[in-house]
Amino acid sequence: MGKYLLPYRGEILKITQETGSNLNIKTFRIRLKEEEERKKFKFLPGQFVELTVFGVGEAPFGFASSPTQEDYFDISIKETGLVTEAIHNMKEGGEIGIRGPYGNSFPYEEVKGKNLVFLAGGIGLAPLRSLINYVLDEKNRDQYGRVQMLLAFRSPEDMLYKYDFSQWEKSPNTTVKYTIDEECEGWVHCVGYPHELLNEELDLKEPDTVFFTCGPPIMIRFITDELKNSGIDPRDIITTLEMKMSCGLGKCGRCNIGRYYVCKDGPVFDLKQLEKMPAEF
């Protein structure tokens, strides 16, 4: 029988500094220590994991890598509180607790054969990267239609996963656009907030297109409004929510929005579901 509330032991394989010190986001490559446990650990794009810094505490993080990468997973973390600060201070080879995976997933099966649009803001790209890398994986690429991305960052210094971009751009039938909040020297891509650029920079009118968005709450709101105004069916607008998930099991009582527990019924919801939920997020 598996463990329930105590974590499995994992190790940090690699730490990548993603952004400058302003946002201070690092990506941690992690795996379970025991091979037996590693084999059993299967996650889906959109799910999350509870990481424990031993003696400090536990916090939830979305998977930022594709499950097609089986030996490890990536978690991108912004330094913001007690647990994230402790993780940021850890070194490669350090020991970390792992509980999960938890939550539902992006509907990666249901959207096979469809065109996909990814709209990301800042670290909101992290959970989408799990699905992007799954879809663009050579083994899966031909099962999905056209892929368009609009990736928004505050400034060039605040970009994540720069090392992925050339791969994504090279993938067949895929376009990637980048935007930053304000004009700056040497920047050759778009400037402005993503919801203002949607209609101009992306082809929204293609039938059978599903939209995935994640970013700051205010960005998600503007983007979903814009997409709805463009006539997109709310069921085709998919996002992933963040709440203070503590147990991950739909029990501890923190993350519910109405009757739904973000940790168990979510974190992935479509706009049609969100519109029926109380506005408490």
């Binding site: 029988m1 329930y4 913001t80």
Partner: protein, 347 residues
């Protein structure tokens, strides 16, 4: 068919004596806190201390979800439930508190994530029910469809007629503890139960609000600010509640090891839902009061076959330092919803 036994009150000690050979006995006893006397569930050695005369101030929830529970050593990770060597027998549990445990079951025994700690304690515990021969301070279980004089899920159900204690022994394996005591007359007990129920009916209140409360209309209603205006956010209601189950984790260093603990937490506390980013989806006290009531009367019944997460024991009413009354909140909701067209029919 249950075996019916009647004991004089001074014979209770004899019964409990024999039961204690097999079980760890937990029962309501009077405990003194300064000048204040409270009736609480506690392990008993001296059976003359047992106090069955009124609803205990605190529910027996802690024997299933301890207020602080050591989950195990965080790194080596053995999950152990410390239940002791004997089975636990909780003596004299009233219908509200019995129903409360039933309310917790689908949450903690769900197929996806069975709570092994709760499950182990549940399997290691049996309860003797106790009927209420009169209404307690602020309770209204009968208004939520709970029978104050019976519960099918316990092996033994007791009735106190003032002089004697009646035992409906439903579990065969427990009959051996009762053989030396005289049989009771089922007709006599039936008559007593009927007269007690009659009294209950006279003081019954009507809970006319639809359960589950319709989610969006109730959530967006303006009355939450009004009903929560006095709330201090002290969380007393949640700590006395037999069904509140919100929890958190904490960690404790023990020599070289680190223990992970689970502790009761409360949706009434402002930091309960606060994100690391600083964002808090339930920033104000009225939002948190709304969460508590909506969880009990809307979200929980929506998720679990219409059963509210409240057994109407009335302790939140008795203990609230600013006299917030759940019955008034439900009445307010009822009035508001009555004036919203089509709400009742659309559920």
């Amino acid at each position: 068919m249950a075996v019916l036994k009647v004991l004089q009150k001074d014979e209770l000690g004899k019964l409990l004596e024999t039961l204690s050979n097999e079980f760890r006995i937990i029962a309501p006893v009077v405990r003194k806190y300064g000048k204040k006397e409270r009736v609480e569930y506690h392990q008993v050695e001296d059976f003359s201390e047992i106090h069955l005369n009124r609803q205990p101030d605190t529910p027996p929830k802690k024997y299933f979800l301890p207020q602080n529970e050591r989950l195990g050593e965080e790194r080596s990770g053995e999950e152990v439930t410390e239940t002791g060597d004997r089975k636990t027998l909780i003596f004299g549990v009233r219908s509200c508190d019995l129903s409360a445990i039933d309310i917790l079951k689908p949450v903690f025994l769900d197929d996806d994530f069975t709570d092994t700690y709760f499950q182990n304690r549940l399997e290691n515990t049996l309860m003797f029910g106790l009927g209420c021969s009169e209404r307690q301070e602020n309770c209204f279980c009968d208004s939520l469809g709970i029978n104050p004089l019976g519960d099918e899920n316990v092996p033994v159900y007791m009735h106190d007629d003032g002089e004697r204690i009646w035992f409906e022994v439903k579990a065969k394996e427990l009959e051996k503890f009762f053989t030396e005591f005289p049989d009771g007359d089922p007709k006599e007990l039936e008559e007593k139960k009927n007269s007690w129920l009659e009294e209950f009916k006279k003081s019954a209140i009507e809970i006319g609000v639809p359960i589950p409360l319709p989610e969006l209309v109730s959530f967006n209603a303006p009355f939450w600010k009004e009903v929560a205006a006095n709330c201090l956010g002290c969380g007393v209601c949640t700590y006395y509640c037999p069904t509140c189950f919100c929890f958190g984790f904490f960690w404790e260093k023990r020599e070289e090891e680190i223990d992970k603990w689970r502790t009761w937490d409360s949706c009434m506390f402002p930091l309960f839902t606060k994100h690391g980013s600083g964002h808090n989806p339930r920033e104000t006290q009225d939002q948190r009061t709304r969460q508590r009531i909506m969880h009990k009367f809307s979200y929980h019944p929506s998720n679990f076959e219409g059963v509210p997460a409240c057994s109407a024991c009335g302790r939140c009413i008795s203990q609230c330092p600013v006299n917030i009354d759940l019955r008034v909140i439900l009445k307010t909701a009822e009035k508001y919803l009555d004036n919203q067209e089509g709400v009742k029919s659309s559920g």
